[in-house]
């Protein structure tokens, strides 16, 4: 079989954009790429629709390049990728729900985001339909046998978390099958994006997943800049990275505390939530918003770092460096806590690789992919930081990756403050004026790689924008890791993944 690179190179049409490659393929080419993915070549990074076309993003590790393939679908159908490559299945079900395009020979014909409650069926298709009178009840996968019983959980959960439904089948305490049903927080973001001006589109992008608002704004801005063929000023780029690392710190502190809390070790939560609050307050002081929402815009950033704010951030770094090691030590020395995390929720490295699991989920199971290094973007190409890769794949490993990344982010913030260049915060506004084009960007958020692909029209509005959360490829793995664990360990497994519902449901 031809290698993925050969198939893709043969399919290339016209000039290749900087940083990524673009190809229009026919149905046969599409199927060959699907088969190569199924055979373990390359990594599926995204799969999305348009009214009359489907798109696929493929990472070719050997070349450190991302390919965007598109296939026109005049007949309203396309060869299923999910048939040979399981990670594509939920994405294909979504394409069918939103655009009405049929994946031919798809193994799973059930709807995914469409629960039969929308005002329209196939809402983003060229001609949306009136919804069917009543959608049949969702058919959960079977799990039958003596002594098995089912536990339905959600969509409204017991804690302060996002809604989703989990259907457990258990034998005594052991989980024999978990099936997720998501889509409860589908807001129709990609529909709202279509036809939106850049300002409104950036506002929507910042609200795909609130915990990753900086990373989403960063990715959206870079995608738009790629489409327009412009670059943000250097100072703005460095400030973006500063915000991105502050966001990572805040989320990792929150997660580490929350994982321990799910094993009823609330002392850790209390101390970690203090560190998290410190980060948010520094963000408020320096950038005027605790979560730094809407601070990154296409073309630059909205807030400058004042001279006296350097000291504020350095103070935060010092405090984190002073206090955090005590918490790590506390975790390490609390046997009753480690008893819950070590060996729990094991993710097989082969599965992590197949699903292209990003962030701490991938890095705790041997997959070292990190956009900041693998597809380095400014300013990370000038900064030094390591890649924590662990192979144990359990809750403990995912927590440890976060611990190491906290240290790295502190180091990165140091380097950014030391090297922060002077200069403008945004490009001249006339350079942001209307021009048609396509742009792609991948940005490493705290939970993994966020992909944003955008096509701008002649009038400068968004013709189509797709935002792919890392959770798309992590949620299915959560179903795998809970296998044979006791149901009481599900909160730990779930929190160690900390997938986004909103980012997934869009």
């Amino acid at each position: 079989m031809a290698t993925l690179t050969e198939i893709l190179s043969a399919a290339t049409s016209g000039e290749t954009p900087r940083g990524w490659r673009r190809a229009v393929v026919d149905a046969e080419g599409w199927s060959r790429v699907a088969a190569a993915l199924g055979a373990g070549e390359g990594t599926l990074m995204g799969l999305w629709g348009e009214p009359a076309a489907v798109f696929m993003a493929v990472l070719d590790e050997s070349e450190s390049a991302v390919w965007i393939l598109s296939l026109n679908c005049p007949e309203g159908s396309f060869p299923s990728v999910g048939r040979v490559h399981a990670p594509a299945q939920r994405l294909e079900r979504t394409i069918r729900d939103l655009f009405g395009l049929q994946p031919v020979d798809a193994p799973d014909r059930r709807p995914w985001l469409d629960h039969g409650r929308w005002e329209l069926a196939q809402p983003l298709a060229a001609a949306p339909q009136a919804p069917a009178a009543e959608m049949p009840p969702y058919a959960f996968l079977a799990a039958e046998g003596p002594n098995l019983h089912r536990i339905p959980v959600g969509p409204v959960h017991a804690g302060i978390i996002e809604p989703g439904h989990f259907r457990f089948t258990v034998n005594g305490e052991a989980v024999v099958r978990l099936e997720e049903r998501l889509g409860y927080v589908h807001k129709g973001i990609e529909g709202l994006m279509t036809g939106a001006g850049l300002e409104r589109a950036a506002r929507l992008a910042a609200r795909v997943s609130g915990d990753s608002t900086v990373a989403y704004s960063f990715a959206f801005a870079r995608a738009v800049e790629a489409a327009l063929g412009i670059e943000a000023p250097t100072r703005a780029v460095w400030l973006r990275a500063l915000m991105a690392e502050l966001e990572r710190l805040a989320n990792h502190f929150g997660d580490i505390g929350a994982i321990a809390n799910d094993a009823s070790f609330s002392l850790m939560l209390a101390h970690c939530s203090v560190l998290r609050e410190r980060v948010l307050r520094v963000a408020e002081t320096c950038f005027g918003h605790r979560l730094m929402m809407d601070r990154i815009q296409p073309g630059g950033v909205t807030h400058d770092l004042q001279a006296d704010h350097q000291g504020v951030i350095r103070g935060l770094i010092d405090e984190a460096r002073r206090r955090f090691p005590h918490l790590v030590e506390l975790y390490e020395q609390t046997a009753s806590l480690k008893d819950r995390t070590v060996g729990t929720g094991h993710l097989n490295p082969a599965l992590a690789r197949r699903f292209g699991a990003g962030g701490f989920v991938g890095r705790a199971s041997g997959r070292g992919f990190d956009c900041r290094r693998s597809l380095a973007y400014a300013p990370y190409d000038e900064l030094l930081f390591g890649a924590p890769i662990v192979h144990r794949g359990d809750v403990n490993a995912r927590l440890w990756v976060r611990v190491v990344e906290v240290g790295q982010s502190l180091g990165l913030i140091d380097q950014i403050l030391d090297g922060l260049p002077e200069g403008a915060l945004t490009v001249d506004s006339n350079r942001l004026s209307a021009a048609a084009g396509e742009g792609l960007a991948l940005v490493e958020g705290f939970r993994g790689d966020i992909l944003v692909w955008v096509r701008l029209g002649e009038d400068g509005t968004v013709e189509r924008c797709h935002l792919r959360d890392p959770s798309w490829f992590q949620w299915p793995l959560l179903e795998a890791v809970i296998d044979n664990n006791i149901i009481a360990d599900f909160p730990l497994c779930n929190k160690s993944f900390n997938c986004s519902y909103s980012g997934h449901d869009l």
Partner: protein
């Protein structure tokens, strides 16, 4: 662990003084509830939080109310796991159509007297998601709302001020 405990002992509490109850919201609540619920539930509130389609930004700040700086529980306000134990539904998000029924059922499962607090700009009127085929456009489109706490997301301080106003009025 001992080291941490000692440190905490000498460091003193991080908890900050309470913000004053939001005056505007106090007046609004007094008008809306007309004293109907006075002294029914004592000086405490149990809250069931329902995410009806938020981006999870509001949830992060609701969590923050529990951290040592804001320490929500010192006011007798606490989060409960079941709507059957709740006095207040704290609802976030523009109410997606896929969550509408779950929200209505949660409300039905909450015993009276009960209050609905719409938290965040999305919950107020759908925010930037209003007009989508997939959202109802704010909590008021589905449930009777007693209090709106605006913000994107509202800061923990703002939420606390709103909840204290509710506590003043009903408890």
């Amino acid at each position: 662990m001992r080291k941490l405990f000692f440190e905490s002992l000498f460091r003193g509490p991080l908890t900050e003084p309470a913000p004053p109850a939001d005056a505007g919201q106090l007046a609004e609540l007094a008008e809306r509830l007309k004293g109907a619920a006075q002294r029914r539930i004592g000086r405490s509130l149990s809250i069931r939080q329902v995410d009806a389609g938020s981006c999870n930004g509001c949830e992060l700040e609701i969590h923050a109310m529990n951290n040592p700086f804001y320490d929500l529980e010192r006011f007798g306000i606490r989060f409960v796991a079941s709507p059957r134990h709740a006095d207040v539904l704290l609802v976030t998000g523009p109410v997606t159509r896929n969550m509408k029924e779950a929200l209505e059922r949660t409300y039905a499962a909450t015993p009276g007297p009960k209050w609905v607090v719409a938290t965040g700009d999305c919950a107020a009127d759908g925010g930037c998601f209003a007009g989508s085929y997939a959202v109802c456009g704010g909590v008021a489109a589905v449930l009777p709302v007693d209090l709106v706490i605006p913000g994107c997301p509202p800061t923990p301080e703002k939420m606390l001020a709103g909840l204290l106003a509710l506590l003043e009025t009903v408890a």
